[in-house]
């Protein structure tokens, strides 16, 4: 067990302890407030559920139909040309849609190349420093009924691209 894993194990319990104790200190009716806050979750998840079904089915179809693979293999030569490891490419594309699918791919890469290899390191860093763009956007925007997302997608793509290039450069050093 490394130090960081050890420390991060304490983050959540300590956060909760801090919040509860400061609630007691400020004479908050903590259990009543807890229940009234927790009650809202049902409504939130009820709103999210249909959205998630729509998104995950669309993502699942793209993956299972073989379209994503085809897309990746189409652009792979270009990336190979500039020296970007093409093995990491599917990971970055799929991470935009689904976190669980990306994790599955990450494990495959670990098994094939080893966790501490160049590809293992780079894919770890890429996954650690990116978010699921489409998942996040659909959940947050559909919750408040937004359909015109303006410059959210370009911004998100730009930051993902920056992260990918940065990971590539950092791993090359």
């Amino acid at each position: 067990m490394s130090v960081f894993q050890y420390i991060s194990g304490y983050i959540m319990p300590l956060m909760i302890l801090y919040i509860v104790v400061s609630g007691i200190v400020h004479k908050v009716k903590i259990y009543d407030e807890f229940v009234s806050g927790a009650k809202e979750a049902l409504g939130v998840v009820r709103n999210i559920c249909p959205v998630l079904v729509g998104l995950l089915v669309a993502t699942g179809l793209l993956r299972k139909s073989g379209f994503l693979e085809m897309l990746v293999s189409l652009v792979a030569p270009l990336f190979e040309y500039i020296g970007f490891p093409e093995e990491v490419l599917p990971l970055i594309v799929i991470k935009m849609f689904s976190s669980s699918a990306a994790t599955g791919l990450l494990v495959d890469l670990y098994k094939e190349f080893g966790t501490d290899s160049y590809i293992g390191m780079m894919s770890s860093i890429c996954l650690a420093s990116s978010e699921t763009i489409f998942y996040t956007m659909t959940i947050y925007y559909s919750y408040v009924g937004i359909s015109k997302t303006r410059w959210t997608l370009p911004g998100a793509l730009l930051s993902t691209l920056t992260g990918t290039v940065a990971a590539w450069l950092v791993c090359g050093m």
Binding site: Y18, I19, V53, C126, R150, L158
Partner: protein
Amino acid sequence: MLNIIWGSMLVVAIVYGIFLGDIESLNEAFLDSSSEAVSLCITMLGIMSFWMGIMEIARKGGVLVHLAKFMKPLLVKIFPGIRDNDKALEYIAANFAANIMGLGWAATPLGLKAMKELKKCNNREDGVASDEMCSFLVINISSLQLVPVTIIAYRNQYGSVNPTAIIGPAIIVSGISTIVAIIFCLIMTGRGAGK
């Protein structure tokens, strides 16, 4: 936007699956993915109920107010439109803090509440995202996490000699992508204000 993206995802996947792909696994995908979504919702319901309860205590106990006060100088630069909306500032500050500490499950309900507050002070027409909403999501997506706990756990599980070796590089990389995201948001927000 989402209508077009979702529609083209479905059409492209089905057409490609029918003509060039595997029809069996295409059929599987409908069933698997929809039940995956529902089981994810059930997991989410438990964790989210707990965190929304805890966050209500945090709000009433003044923890969120402190956090918001601490981050306000930075936040009002990125979100100029909510200078006077304390609730939105509180939720955004708490969402960023939870993300940075790697508490993704706690961050989502806070982020949704922040979106609801942002909606109240959105003076665009219905269904159009405000600058603040765009900025909030772009920065959220840029990933603020300091210690990628799950990835480290996977590295450990799959026999890495040094699972935590990625912490330094990951902080640098997500730092760079977050800075670029913030600069992009400042430019886009500034451009809108000038018009």
